[in-house]
Structure formats: structure tokens, C-alpha cells
């Protein structure tokens, strides 16, 4: 059993995975397949169950119900050391009494590999820290410790590498650099990476596939572009970037398009981008998809008239406008400054227009603020 599980390879399949602590359900009936070789991110705020999921995959937490398969092998009840899975811990968890070399060699030695020098040197070169082999972990900076933690895991060439908020303790500049490096290393070694984070930018930069988690369940799963471009719920629309969500009624059909009535103004959107279940809906448009024009300028696509510019903030590459609509809602518009200075002023009466294909439609009974109160920088992960 132990022998078989440690050599398991293939896709990771979570089937109806559940974890409860007393009355609290941390992970709720989660079913998920992570393809071999992919860079997969579990994204969500603190307490959404992503870390618990990761710990169950690692074997550090026992599921209350459900199963975990790696390829064809059931690893649900196997011990952490019987799984071909390694973890990069949030605080790195390097062994303080061992040198960097021995830290990295730890996994190889436990598996009975006698000659570890070549493998350790190779992975130290990969993370570009070969000169630190004889140091102790406390003598290293945070960024160096992070790389050693990564090296200690990938040297074992596991079927699956788990990263628990791996960049959380680094400053912004170093984090950006490590994001690019992690992605590069993943391609280089060709392992399956499962990455847990509350930072949507981090997830979008690195992952091929993102699963947005909320209250122990997966809210939506897809490529970063799919999630951003066509969110299915208000939670996803607000958690990944910003969205303008406008209440409306689906009033008709026009070929492949739906006609939606937004406070008396009709707009169109592709049928396949609607997630509404009845007539009531929220039309969603990302702020950078909007175009502002003065009333007399002719425009194409969807148009909402009667706007008035309430606020202008110039931020270099773009200008952010707050536009108040006749029904009292303020819409957010990001305009690229490719023509120089922001051309509109506070108080201008304007139209807002956009291409119908950029519109998505959510269910009308959604909580439009879901996911938006959560500011990634405020989160202190459990």
C-alpha cells in the first residue's frame, strides 16, 4: 500500500471532499480534478477552505468524507510520508538545526537515496543559491528561505507540489519577481503545482487554471482570462478585479443576443454570456471596457445616456472616472491615456458605450457586494 501510493502519478481527483470542525464546515462537498502538469490555483479569502483543502491533499488533515485519488491510486487515508506530494509551507518551515544542504537532502535521504550531492547541487543551481549550501536557515533572508523551501520540495520530484501562500511573507517587489520565477521553474521541472492564495493578482499571473473558493465550495473554475472575462457570480466578478453591476430585466431575444432593459435603456449581450435563471438580472461590465463620449459624439454598440462625470482621478497610464447615471448609481470607468491628458472634466454630461460582447449577465437575486468587501491586503491567513 505504502509503496504503491508513493509511486502514484497522474491527475489529482478530489471527490465529494468534506471537512468539518464541530459545527463549522471548512470544505463542503468539493469535487475537483487537477490535470497532471498544470499550475493550478485555489483562490479565495481567509477562511474559504483553501488551506484546509491543501492540507487534506498533503495528508496533514484527515477528510471527514470524500476521497482523494492520484491517478488511479486512492490516497485518502495514507500518511503524509506515503504520498508523492511535497509542500512549500507558508512560513517555509525549514529545519533550523540543519544546514541548507541537509534541509534539501532531507527528503532524498528519507527515501533511502545514498548519493544526494548531485541532486542537491542541481536544485540549488536552479534556485540560484549554490553558495549557501553550508549556511543555516536563520542566516538567510526571507526571499532566500523561500527559494530553499521550494528547492527542498522540488528536489524530490513529487507528483504534486503544494504551495501554501508561498509568497505571503515577501515584500511586493520580491513577490513579483518570485511569481515569474515560480512560473518558470514549474515549466522547467514539469511538475503539477497546486497553489493556494488570497491574492488574485498572484493567482492570475501564475496559474493556468484558477478555482475561486467561497465558504468551502468552488464558486467558479477556469483560466484567468475566462474568470475575468465572463464571471458567473457576483462573488467572482468582484473578487477578481472590479465590476460594474447594473440591475436589469431581460426583455427579449435578437438572434444570438439577449435584450436587457437597464432602467429604461436597452442593451444587448451574447446569450452564452448570461448566467441568469429568469428575467431579472445584473448586467456586468468591467470598468476598462467602457468608453466615455460627449453627448453629440456618435457611438456604436451598447449605449447608456444621461451620465454625469462626478470624479476624475488621473493615475498615469489611465484615468479613472466616476460617472453618475440617471438612476443614481455611480459607474466606474477606466480610460487609457493613449491620447495624452484626460479629455473629460468633472460635471461633463456624457454617454457611456461598450461592445455588447464584453457584457456578462448574472442572476438577478445575487448580492452585488459579494466578494467586494474583501481586500486582499487586509487578510491575515489562518
Amino acid at each position: 500500500m505504502a509503496k504503491a501510493s508513493i509511486e502514484a502519478r497522474g491527475d489529482l481527483r478530489l471527490t465529494r471532499l468534506t471537512k468539518t470542525y464541530g459545527d463549522f464546515t471548512a470544505v463542503d462537498d468539493l469535487t475537483l480534478t487537477i490535470p497532471k502538469g498544470s499550475f493550478f490555483a485555489l483562490l479565495g479569502p481567509s477562511g474559504c477552505g483553501k488551506t484546509t483543502t491543501l492540507r487534506m491533499i498533503a495528508g496533514l488533515e484527515e477528510p471527514t468524507a470524500g476521497s482523494i485519488h492520484l491517478g488511479e491510486t486512492d490516497i485518502t487515508t495514507t500518511k503524509p510520508y506515503q504520498r508523492p506530494i511535497n509542500t512549500v509551507f507558508q512560513n517555509y518551515a525549514l529545519f533550523p538545526h540543519l544546514t541548507i544542504f541537509e534541509n534539501i537532502a532531507f527528503g532524498l535521504r528519507r527515501r533511502g537515496q545514498k548519493d544526494v550531492k548531485e541532486a542537491v547541487d542541481k536544485v540549488l543551481n536552479l534556485v540560484e543559491l549554490p553558495h549557501l549550501a553550508e549556511r543555516k536557515p536563520t542566516q538567510l533572508s526571507g526571499g532566500q528561505q523561500q527559494r530553499i523551501a521550494l528547492a527542498r520540495a522540488i528536489v524530490n520530484r513529487p507528483a504534486l507540489l503544494l504551495l501554501d501562500e508561498p509568497l505571503g511573507a515577501l515584500d511586493l517587489k520580491l513577490r513579483r519577481q518570485m511569481q515569474i520565477e515560480l512560473k518558470w521553474i514549474q515549466k522547467e521541472v514539469g511538475l503539477t503545482f497546486v497553489h493556494v492564495t488570497h491574492d488574485q493578482e498572484e493567482a492570475m499571473t501564475m496559474a493556468d487554471t484558477i478555482a475561486v473558493m467561497n465558504e468551502g465550495q468552488i464558486e467558479q473554475m477556469g483560466s484567468p482570462a475566462e474568470l475575468y472575462d465572463n464571471p458567473e457570480t457576483a462573488y467572482v466578478a468582484n473578487f477578481l478585479g472590479q465590476s460594474n453591476l447594473i440591475k436589469g430585466i431581460i426583455s427579449g431575444n435578437d438572434g444570438d443576443s439577449l435584450i436587457v432593459d437597464l432602467y429604461g435603456q436597452k442593451i444587448a449581450l451574447p446569450k452564452n454570456r448570461s448566467h441568469a435563471i429568469d428575467n431579472s438580472t445584473y448586467a456586468g461590465i468591467r470598468p476598462e471596457k467602457f468608453r466615455i463620449s460627449l453627448l453629440e459624439t456618435p457611438v456604436h454598440g451598447n449605449v447608456l445616456t444621461g451620465g454625469r462625470i462626478e470624479d476624475v482621478s488621473y493615475i498615469g497610464v489611465s484615468t479613472q472616472y466616476q460617472v453618475e447615471m440617471p438612476w443614481g448609481q455611480e459607474l466606474m470607468v477606466f480610460e487609457q491615456n493613449d491620447d495624452g491628458v484626460a479629455p473629460f472634466n468633472k460635471g461633463d454630461a456624457v454617454n457611456i458605450s461598450w461592445a455588447p460582447t464584453f457584457t456578462f449577465a448574472l442572476r438577478g437575486d445575487e448580492d452585488v457586494t459579494a466578494g467586494s468587501e474583501v481586500q486582499p491586503q487586509d487578510i491575515d491567513e489562518e
Partner: protein, 278 residues
């Protein structure tokens, strides 16, 4: 520019204020000198009188000699008493360290029914007056028809050392990050290997400290030993008994030697630690 200003134009600080400032700056040093003098005068006295050419009573300075150091076992019984104390000390340390460490792991790492009660009960022997514990142990031994002597003394010492070991080791375990053990398990180390390669090495300084503490507690215990040792003479008992008719200078020699041995251990420990950090 500034050099052109005459000295007289710089206001001088009055003498009183300067004295005050000097005291303010140096008070802590003066206090430290007094405190250390107070602490070390008895040790210095013991050390100095180990060189006394004393004869029977070692109370009055009669002249300098190396004789006591050359022949530390010169006084009757002093070395057999020392030998007994060392034997009891080692045995008590060995067993109390093993038992205490196991208890510390149980309380520090596992949740079980009665854990907080056990935690509290562990403190009890430390809080009990020694005289009470010594007397109760003696009556207990007598109930079981065990005569006072070497082994009852060892058992009594193990009893009071365990609490100190548990407290010391538990503090070390509490400061240990559980994620290190999880990381070891994650890196293919089974429970035993994790304990041997990660947990034990990281808790070891705490265990070593606990062992040293247990040994010194056992070595100089008098009250409990006096109740339970019967005719056996330990080093503290020897000193107590000979105090009536004059402590031989050899006792000063052994006392000083013990002091310097302990000092050496501490200094070596510090040096090793410092090198490790570098």
C-alpha cells in the same frame, strides 16, 4: 566659524548637575558591583579557605598550603560522601530526565482527558515544602517495609526532580513550531524518523538543561535526603554533620572544584552556542 567663538561664551554646566549626571549614568554599574560582591563573597571565602593549612577546624586562617588540593580525600569520609552524592545524582538525573521528558511530550503535544489536571499536579511536588515531602516519603517507605538507604534516596530524588524536568522540557516543546514536524512528515519521514531527526534535536537543549538542573537539585539536596538515606552519608549530609565539630578544608576544595566545573560547563556551552549562530 564656530572656532572663532570664545570658550567663555559657551555656558558651563554647574558642578552639581555634572555629579548628578555621572551618578545617573553609573548607578546601575555601582549597583551591579555591590550585587555581585554580595553573591560571590561566600564563594570567594570558600575558595580561599580551601588553601588554609587548617588542621582540624577550618575557621581561622593559619597559613597557605596546596596540601588540601593535593589530597582532597584526606579528611575521613569526605570522598565516600561525595561518591554517594554523585551516584545518586546521576541515577536521579537519568531516570527523572527520561520520565520527565516523556511526561512533557504527553502534556505538551497531546490532548487527552485530565490533561490540565496532570499539568497542575506536576507542579505540586515543587510547591510542597521539602520537609513535608521528606517526612511523607519516609513514612511511605516504612509502610512498605523498605529501609532508608541508597535506593530510597534515589527514588525520593527522582520524585522531586521530575517536576522540574517536565516544566523545563515543556517550555522548549511549546516554543517548537509544529509545522517543522509536519514538514518532516511531508518529506517522507515517518513518525519515528520525524521524532529522531527533527523533534528530538530541536528539544535537546531543553532536555540537557533539565538534566543539569536535576543533577544540581539532587546533588545539594539535604532535607529530603536526611529523612530517607538512613546511615548513608551524602556530601550535604557530611557537611552538615561536620559543621558541629569544624568542616575540614577538603570540603572547601570539593565545593570550589564543583563551582569551577559548573562554571566551565556554562562557559563552554556559551562558546559552542556562539559558534553555532555564526
Amino acid at each position: 566659524m564656530s572656532q572663532k567663538i570664545k570658550d567663555a561664551t559657551i555656558p558651563t554646566i554647574p558642578l552639581g548637575a555634572r555629579i548628578q549626571r555621572w551618578i545617573g549614568r553609573n548607578l546601575i554599574r555601582i549597583y551591579a558591583i555591590f550585587a555581585f560582591t554580595y553573591l560571590f563573597i561566600p564563594v570567594a571565602y570558600t575558595f580561599a579557605f580551601s588553601f588554609n593549612d587548617s588542621g582540624k577546624s577550618n575557621l581561622i586562617w593559619k597559613g597557605f598550603t596546596f596540601g588540601n588540593w593535593q589530597n582532597p580525600c584526606g579528611a575521613p569520609e569526605v570522598c565516600s560522601a561525595l561518591g554517594n552524592s554523585i551516584k545518586i545524582g546521576f541515577l536521579a538525573t537519568f531516570f527523572s530526565t527520561i520520565l520527565g521528558t516523556m511526561i512533557a511530550f504527553a502534556i505538551g503535544r497531546h490532548k487527552f482527558k485530565g490533561r490540565s489536571t496532570s499539568n497542575l499536579l506536576i507542579f505540586l511536588p515543587m510547591a510542597t515544602p521539602e520537609i513535608v515531602m521528606g517526612a511523607s516519603l519516609l513514612s511511605l517507605f516504612l509502610v512498605f517495609k523498605i529501609n532508608p538507604g541508597f535506593w530510597p534516596t534515589v527514588i525520593a530524588h527522582i520524585v522531586f526532580c521530575i517536576s522540574f524536568v517536565v516544566v523545563t522540557v515543556k517550555a522548549r516543546i511549546a516554543s517548537l513550531d509544529p509545522r517543522l514536524e509536519q514538514a518532516a512528515m511531508d518529506l517522507y519521514a515517518n513518525e519515528f524518523e520525524t521524532f529522531r531527526r527533527v523533534t528530538l534535536p530541536l528539544v535537546a537543549p531543553g532536555i540537557a538543561g533539565a538534566a543539569l538542573l536535576a543533577f544540581s537539585l539532587s546533588f545539594d539536596d539535604f532535607i529530603i535526603t536526611n529523612f530517607n538515606s538512613g546511615t548513608l552519608t551524602t556530601f550535604p549530609k557530611f557537611i552538615y554533620v561536620s559543621a558541629a565539630r569544624g568542616i575540614p578544608a577538603q570540603a572547601n576544595v570539593i565545593g570550589s572544584a564543583m563551582f569551577f566545573l559548573a562554571l566551565t560547563i556554562v562557559i563552554v556551552g556559551q562558546l559552542v552556542n556562539r559558534r553555532k549562530v555564526r
